[in-house]
């Protein structure tokens, strides 16, 4: 069964950065899948943050997060990364990575990571 495995929970100070990893099957990075990042803030539903083309590394980031979010991937370790800088209390929540259902298609994701909880507290 295909899985995405995310890194563990993080506790950060306001203003700090957090980097979350998402390990996928190796073949994900040899073909054109897209890894999306979605966050869930308590009581506010799902929020799309951006996506990365697993093969080329090209990224698309939601305008809301531009300048504060960095999406990268390391093909050698079959891992995608989300880094969020200048953390605020509003950034507290669960962050998910998710892979698209097929190659060369980026509109829906059927494989999701288990989620990474980010807490921001002074």
């Amino acid at each position: 069964q295909v899985q995405l495995v995310q890194s563990g929970a993080e506790v950060k100070r306001p203003g700090a950065s957090v980097k979350i990893s998402c390990k996928a099957p190796a073949y994900t990075f040899t073909t054109t899948y897209y890894i999306h990042w979605v966050r869930q803030v308590p009581g506010r539903g799902l929020q799309w943050m951006g996506m990365i083309n697993s093969a080329s590394g090209r990224t698309t980031t939601a305008q809301t997060f531009q300048g504060r979010v960095s999406l990268t991937r390391d093909k050698s370790t079959s891992t995608a990364f989300l880094e969020v800088s200048s953390l605020k209390s509003d950034d507290m929540g669960v962050y998910y990575c998710a892979r698209t259902i097929t190659v060369s298609y980026f509109y829906a994701t059927d494989i999701w990571g288990q989620g990474t909880t980010v807490s921001v507290s002074s």
Partner: protein, 111 residues
Amino acid sequence: QSALTQPASVSGSPGQSITISCSGTNRDVGSSNFVSWYQQHPGKAPKLILYDVYNRPSGISNRFSGSKSGNTASLTISGLQSEDEADYYCCSYSTGSLLMVFGGGTKLTVL
């Protein structure tokens, strides 16, 4: 504020059918057939149940169906079962500043 509008809650009895709407604009729902639906149980990751408006991924029950008219997409669940109780989110491709946009989510209660 979510880009797509869903009812906050719906409910139905076992065996009944319910429909959840997802209203957008001609820049998202109305711009393409790239509308998907996700089911989320408490403490779990979302699960894809429909994509491209009405296509079901492998393993998803045919009790779940989708449709779209203009700027509004809909998810219908027939033959409600207790395990259908969950939150449901629509998601659409958008030509705006967000490439993908989610609805605010709908809590389904099976009475």
